[in-house]
Point group: D2
Chain length 392, copies 4
């Protein structure tokens, strides 16, 4: 841009800012700004979504929270060695990564004993400072941190729990209690700072009733959960084929191998429970009946940041004839997730600008467990997203 008026800039604050996805987002936005790469993978750059007033990638400023301290440049080099991004890009975006490094702040560590009321004020302050220091028209927060276990079912079942009622929650925080999962504390900090929020993981985050109330009260939009980047993406494209052809899916076995950070997290059965619940929901909604078949998520460290899914589908056709389909999907987790994070940041910023509040059900296209809708069919989700954009 050569004029004297600068475009307004939007802040993208990443929770889990030193992780593989976040680092790929930072390398990618820098590379796009410098014209070093194409827009492959960026949904918001497709003709159907263009011209709908989304902030430009070049006008994003990236910051974030993280518990670790590994330098971004080192993380980027490591991703380059693993084939997640082209090694040649790393030196070319070195200065941008160094600048982003300065915009990272320590995250909230439940193990530290920091009372959540204090942590909330600190995280909120980080977001407000980020907005002020960089003159950002608004800031959106996207959670790309490790998956947390689901919250206790008993607590969720109690209408007076701090998880279910915002006033109770605020009272608990004021009393020095720490009732929230970390992901929800980040969401609350975002809302208190007037920021839109996107949950790209299956962690509870914004899905607790108290958090839904907080977003409403703050008048900000949010979206989630659990980015749909691999096997579930394929399922949501294939399952409608069986449904509309009246072919009866008899069993669908889902075997997932992950090498990277989330693979290790998901080796913990408690954390995996979030993930498998989120992965299973869609299939039955699409075909209209329960479907038998195992689902496993296995940690195979040797795969690095790559993930491979092997699925086996047994189905029945006319006159009861049994047939099968198998597929193998070998994808790079961060390369699949990072562009969607950028898309979602731009979309939720536009939703915020347009005054939308609460769960953005039109963004279900991006999620395994879409908030605000039961629609899991990929093409119907795409139609809803395009319609949302063209309405604005």
């Amino acid at each position: 841009m050569t004029g004297d008026r600068e475009a307004p800039r939007t802040g993208l604050w990443l929770v889990g800012a030193r992780g593989s996805v976040a680092t790929t987002v930072m390398v990618g936005t820098a590379a796009l700004r410098a014209g070093l790469t194409r827009t492959t993978g960026l949904v918001a750059e497709l003709p159907e979504l263009a011209g709908t007033g989304l902030p430009e990638v070049a006008d994003l400023v990236v910051g974030g929270h993280d518990l670790g301290t590994a330098p971004l440049v080192k993380r980027a080099e490591s991703l380059g060695e693993g084939g997640v991004l082209p090694m040649r890009l790393v030196p070319l975006v070195h200065d941008e990564l160094e600048a982003a490094e300065q915009r990272l702040r320590p995250g909230y560590d439940a193990a530290s004993g920091e009372p959540q009321g204090e942590a909330l004020a600190r995280l909120q302050g980080d977001l407000e400072s980020f907005r002020d220091e960089h003159g950002l028209v608004r800031v959106v927060v996207v959670d790309v941190a490790s998956t947390e276990p689901p919250v206790d079912a008993a607590a969720l079942g109690d209408p007076h729990s701090a998880l279910n009622d915002l006033d109770t929650l605020d009272a608990a925080l004021a009393a020095g209690e720490s009732p929230l999962p970390a992901s929800s504390l980040y969401a609350l900090a975002a809302y208190r700072a007037g920021c839109a929020y996107v949950s790209f993981t299956p962690s509870p985050g914004p899905r607790l009733p108290a958090l839904e109330q907080a977003a409403e009260r703050a008048g900000v939009p949010w979206a989630g959960s659990d980015g749909k980047t691999g096997e579930t993406l394929v399922k949501s494209a294939l399952a409608p084929m069986f449904a509309t052809r009246a072919l009866q899916v008899r069993s669908w076995a889902s075997y997932n191998m992950l090498g990277g950070g989330d693979g290790a997290t998901l080796a913990d059965p408690a954390a995996a429970a979030s993930k498998t619940a989120s992965k299973s929901a869609g299939l039955e909604a699409i075909v209209g009946h329960p479907v038998d078949g195992p689902m496993h998520i296995d940690h195979v460290p040797d795969l690095g940041d790559w993930k491979t899914a092997m699925d086996h589908i047994s189905f029945e056709g006319f006159l009861g004839v049994r047939m099968t389909m198998q597929f193998t999907w070998s994808g790079c987790d961060s390369a699949l997730a990072a562009p969607l994070v950028i898309d979602l940041a731009r979309l939720i910023a536009r939703a915020h600008e347009a005054g939308r509040v609460g769960a953005q059900s039109a963004f279900g296209f991006f999620f395994k467990d879409p908030a605000g809708t039961d629609e899991h069919r990929l093409s119907a989700q795409w139609d809803a997203l395009v319609a949302w954009c063209s309405e604005l």
Copy 2:
């Protein structure tokens, strides 16, 4: 049905009436009528299409043309042995098959020397007699015969050719010439008898300009071509996933193994040319650019009526990262095709009843090479079909 009044009956005339697909249609309609099987595979029985005034399966009367003489009961037993349909059904529908046997007539054999003008009159007469003898409210013709080679490109390029101009064609037939492929002669006979026509094969059939004129002049609807039952079906469900996620498909290799009758036909490169052209069209239309990669159709007799497709897809994501997907589809050709033939018979009969004329583009859901539309995305085709039904 509430009274003593019988529902009006519709004729389903199959070209290639002793083939595997046709035999499965006959066993299937008889089994459905007798309550011996479920409606799995029948698209027109799905809730979205129900209640739109289609003729009931129980009200279909099946007849047809064929060059061979193998008894239907023998064909059905052979399909039972090959696992294409449950052997237990064959004795239960034996009488229905014997009755259908009586409704079959000799087809047109180009090698016989019968002038096409005479054959036309004969085939047309067969259709009219079928309608009259059985008191059918209307007859629809569906081509499920072996695939023919494409017509000569030079003939198609000449606007004065009998293939391109109906008056020229009629004059040629009157002069004792035989310019048409057999599939087109059947279509012409249907139109002259006032029947709607469906081309379930990639043969030229109704796609020649002179035939399009004939359907218009006769005021009847038609649909085609080439039933989408296997690999191309999967492609049309999967390719939009890559397109809407902005993932660049770099190559898509398509390996098809067929054992049955059409497998042998397609071992002839000339006939295969029809098929591979029809299979390739959709992918590029969906992703919006040419896609590299081999497509083979191989005859593997040991597979019997089963067909297996193995596809390998290489695609590129964010920052140029290369990823892959493979799938294997093992389906029973006739079990996949037969219910669609029944669906199409009911739909084109309803179109005829509703006064529709010419290519029915809303039926593209069923075809590899849909007439009257460039839409190849399965879900968009589904939406168009549902809309068409709800409009009526």
Copy 3:
């Protein structure tokens, strides 16, 4: 045979005699005797093993123990409907199945409270009566019953346990105790009746030290364990390829889906423990180092008697380049197991005739967890089997 001298007949006694494998063995031996089928799947009919004095299939008489009462003919019809064997065979071998039905006896049910000492005498008596009534030259016992859990490690660790010392065991039985897993009780009954024994399952059976002593003392041969019929078979053929090409196997993920009876049994984690231990052993022995990667055995009832394995292998080549291989194996469990049971019966009978005693390590070709040897490479096992036969 037309001479007046009948060939000596050998008894094949099946533990689990009404199961799918056993029923397939009975249909198969009857069909072979009647010339109704070919010898496909029968290893002992290959030229390399022919002429080594094994009893003929036609000279086998089949009997067995089972806890259930489902008639063999019904079981055979059910297998025919599931595609495990050709339905046309069932009526043709009906009389043979009825005759075999008369040779079945009630098995030992640990839940019944029958003291094992009494059960031992009863089972032994059944074997001796079978041999006497049918004038059999010898009887071999093959265990094809459901998989049992492994025995308690603590008991195995105690040298004075009844599992580890035959005299202690005999004293315990005499004292009315019931210390053995059922599979081992069957083995002990076989030895006491002077019969050779084959364990085709991963159950403890003959592998307990006390049982090894019992076989020695009885002077009979035995073989086991756990028939190698599917994924592990493929592994034992493929893994040596990686080893001899100096390609480093980095991970090998093994996903198994089973529909049939053993699938349900293996849904019990305790029983599955026997199976996964037995499946894992070979790979590391072949490649010479531990190999990462998940192994799952899932019960998918819709698959019936079929089992599908999907494996993903990641390996490293020259200069550290990473490559992958996947395979899918779709096999019919009983059709794969039954001919091996027949082979083993003939081989162990020959071993018995030749005076061999104890674990027959040369039969490792047939087993996932071969007794008496660490050799898991399929081709080396084949060479050992051929050598054993030619030595006799």
Copy 4:
């Protein structure tokens, strides 16, 4: 090495010295010499072959012929970008590549019009100079150039052809004729220079009768043909499993996708004829009967130096039950081939040292179309190789 005496050095002369395989050989030998990589992929480093007096990798000096002029360093960088070898290695072996660059000489180009008699003298001179200048104890020549079409069957059928009789060949060359395929001219030059020869491609090379005579007369050993690195390797490991289990292979479909240089060459049907013939031979030899099923080799440029094979096997078991297996092999062609080239160079050098003459049938382990033997089973080939080494 214990003293100041240097080990004798062996020359490895590569025909096609600037190709992907040759470049990987040069990078690899340099990296091994410098201790920068492990011996993964090197068969001759396995314990079974160690200590049999092969020349050390560190004692190989590499030179070669090529028609092109692309600098080796550029080729290596390009392979690094394609993931064929680690990019980090290229600068570390830069000096070695520059040195090797000086040892390359222009190859023979049939299109140049150079009479083959003159070319023979030139190529032979290059080999002798290489040996003399570097003080090499011997030189072995390995052909890794592009695949040539098979020679004309008519010429091969004529016993007086120059291809079939060495004296006729020499007379033709003396008369200024050029009757040989280029690959055979290189082999002849090797023999005339007293060098052993290995054909790693399916080109005619040393397989013509006149060439076999030339090797005999020169008293040198040779080996070939067509390195077994991918789908055929897997076949030769898997097919014996079916054979020894008496499972009847009914069809085996072989689909190969290649991206790199040889992929483009093989898009020429004439050249592909050499390859498919060489790939098909083994399967039938192993299972003992003809096997139906297509074999395709397709050029898919987007795959780069990678090759993917997708195979579908249909087989029959006991009582005629049909089962299937599929596999997908995704390998890096040069990473698989290069270590075998190094292995073969060391082995053939040892054969030469030991006075062996003619086709070395014990090296069949490495080849799709092994000279001097019909043994295609991988494990039997391995046993033969180990035996050969231990005999020396």
